[in-house]
């Protein structure tokens, strides 16, 4: 086998073209990683809604929390059902929640819909990893609110001490920032249910009830009661199913991302191929010499494919490394079903790693294939006559 150092040193000798190609392929891998990192973040936020025993209860026929609710009296009956899980302090893990989607102003002055969720104390325990990360939690009935950390950076008045103002009747003082394990709650503002009912004049109704069953038989029984008992006739949807139905936007992003990644990879393939073609023609006589000495066509193929792979692996590694600072990246998109602003965090996961590896291998192998085949097919005698 032709030693690897032959390839590595050649890459080093023509370091300028190597650097250009590495930067080019790196950029391509990087941009695709960003895209898929956001897709992954979005999917994560839709999926990590915690416990498989969680149920989200909506009005029958409603597919979203934002389209119609039901009356508080019914909701209170749900909270009194047996089979609901309790947290460490003995509080039942079930909460009435009410949503309002007013228009908020971004820091750049533009406006968008934002979700204000009126919650009960148990709501916190129903979100994975709910944490106050700055300031404090709101107090009941004081017109205070807490804002997800990623949202607070992007909206006017959403910083601690700020005032979220949606009109004379509806305004909230921000007292704290929270995170919720990357779940959908991270796109929301939370306030006391009573305050929201009062401010919006919607006392007497809720958007949904969220609850966690104590066990899986309880879960099945609760689901059945809520769906079929004439007292309720509601839609008790497993939380995971609910969020999956919301994930059309993720599917769209993924499809677009895949298209873009394929096109970018093709472009980078040509760039790698170009570099390798130049390498083969510059080293024609060397190739002839190695063939004369007794290296086979297969040895030559492996050597040049290897060189192309090393080149693209450097690019791929660079692209992946460059995603490290992105772990703090958050972007905003619209939930396609209610057009509220959804914030999605970049998330490095198997999808991103897989995309980066697949792109790198594709660039290295397909970009290197034709130049390597040219090297293989060189006529030894003419190659040796080359100056």
């Amino acid at each position: 086998m032709i030693p690897l150092k032959y390839n590595v040193r050649n890459l080093r000798v023509r370091w300028k073209t190597t650097l250009m190609t590495v930067l080019g392929t790196g950029l391509v891998v990087w941009s695709s990683c960003i895209l898929f990192g956001l897709v992954e973040g979005l999917e994560h936020s839709l999926k990590v809604s915690g416990d498989p025993l969680d149920l989200i209860i909506l009005r029958k026929g409603s597919s979203s929390e934002t389209t119609g609710g039901f009356i508080t009296a019914t909701a209170d009956e749900i909270l009194n059902l047996s089979g609901i899980a309790r947290d460490a302090s003995g509080q039942a893990l079930a909460a009435k929640e009410l949503l309002n989607i007013p228009i908020a102003t971004r820091t750049d002055g533009s406006t968008t819909n934002i979700i204000i969720r009126g919650v009960q104390p148990a709501s916190r325990g129903l979100r994975p990893d709910f944490k106050i990360v700055a300031g404090r939690d709101f107090e009941l009935g004081k017109g205070e609110c807490i804002v997800s950390r990623s949202l607070s950076r992007r909206f006017r008045g959403a910083e601690i001490g700020g005032l979220l103002y949606f009109g004379e009747k509806e305004q909230y003082r921000v007292v704290g920032l929270f995170t919720a394990g990357g779940s959908a709650a991270e796109s929301e503002v939370w306030c006391d249910l009573k305050d929201l009912e009062h401010n919006t004049g919607r006392d007497g109704s809720v958007s949904c009830v969220q609850l966690r069953a104590a066990s899986s038989p309880d879960y099945n029984r609760l689901q059945q009661t809520l769906n079929d008992d004439p007292r309720f006739k509601l839609a008790a949807i497993p939380e995971s199913v609910y969020f999956e139905s919301q994930s059309r936007s993720s599917l769209f992003l993924k499809a677009a991302g895949t298209m873009i990644a394929i096109l970018l990879t093709l472009g980078a393939m040509f760039s790698a191929a170009n570099t390798m073609f130049a390498a083969v023609s510059a080293r024609t006589r060397e190739i002839g010499t190695m063939r004369a000495i007794g290296f086979s066509q297969f040895d030559i193929l492996i050597s040049f494919m290897g060189e192309s792979l090393i080149l693209c692996l450097m690019g791929g590694a660079l692209g992946l490394l460059a995603t490290i600072p992105l772990n703090a990246l958050t972007y905003e998109t619209s939930n396609l079903s209610n057009f509220a602003s959804v914030s999605v965090s970049f998330r490095f996961g198997p999808l991103v790693a897989g995309v980066a590896i697949a792109m790198t291998l594709a660039m290295g192998l397909f970009g290197g294939m034709f130049p390597a085949l040219r090297a293989v097919r060189l006529d030894v005698i003419s190659a040796l006559r080359e100056l």
Binding site: K5, R9, R291, I293, G294, Q297, L387
Partner: protein, 240 residues
């Protein structure tokens, strides 16, 4: 050992086909090289010297006729077999040295050994021996660009002999060197022929270089025009 046929060409033709034209390069060539001979091939440019050398070295194939080297009919070997055969039997020395620029002297010489199953230790010993024979101890870690032309050619010769091949082919090995350095290289080839009984076929333009050989053959338009023994040629030259 002298006198046993080592290379035999019988009725060898070599044509090159370019478009619909056929260019005859070697015509009806018969040649016998005894084992251990140092043969010089001379002739004008384009007379077919390199082509003949390539046939003997198993780089190219005759259009018709037989090429036997060390009893092996090269025409019977497949492409991969003949590649393997070259690795085992032939050392190549080129006019332009053809060292790999990114490899050190040591690594260049080691290259053919990577085709063998020798251990790293044995390889290192063999490379050291080859570099010692060509007088380049202490230059192992120099890259070709850090060496003079003469030194580069010595590295190339070390690379050619490191596998202890049976045959050395040299195509104008002193073509790029000054007179003094050329003489040193020729003395080295003579030594390899004398001390290590290598059969050597050398193409050269230079009559002084050819004189080192035990026999000189002249090619003209693809035919061997004479077959003068070294002694006879020298006396003929001094007579005129």
């Amino acid at each position: 050992m002298q006198g046993i046929p080592s290379i035999q060409l019988r009725g060898v033709d070599k044509d090159y086909r370019r478009d619909e034209f056929t260019i005859p390069v070697l015509v009806g060539l018969d040649l016998t090289v005894p084992e251990g001979e140092f043969l010089a091939l001379m002739g004008p440019s384009g007379s077919g010297k390199t082509t003949l050398l390539n046939l003997i070295a198993g780089l190219d194939r005759a259009t018709s006729g037989e090429v036997l080297v060390h009893g092996q009919d090269l025409g019977l070997l497949s492409e991969s077999e003949i590649t393997r055969w070259r690795a085992d039997n032939v050392g190549f020395i080129f006019q332009t040295y053809n060292l790999i620029p990114v490899l050190t002297a040591f690594e260049n010489v080691e290259l053919p050994l990577l085709l063998t199953k020798l251990s790293k230790r044995t390889r290192r010993q063999n490379v050291a021996t080859a570099l010692k024979i060509v007088g380049l101890e202490g230059r192992e870690h120099h890259y070709p660009r850090q060496l003079s032309g003469g030194q580069e050619q010595r590295v190339a010769i070390a690379r050619a002999i490191v596998t202890d091949p049976y045959l050395l082919v040299a195509d104008e090995p002193t073509g790029d060197l000054d007179r003094g350095t050329a003489t040193e290289i020729l003395e080295l080839l003579e030594q390899l022929n004398r001390e290590f009984q290598k059969t050597i076929v050398m193409v050269t333009h230079d009559p002084l270089a050819a004189e080192r050989a035990s026999r000189i053959l002249h090619l003209d338009k693809g035919r061997l025009v004479d077959d003068i023994l070294q002694g006879a040629r020298v006396s003929a030259a001094s007579a005129s």
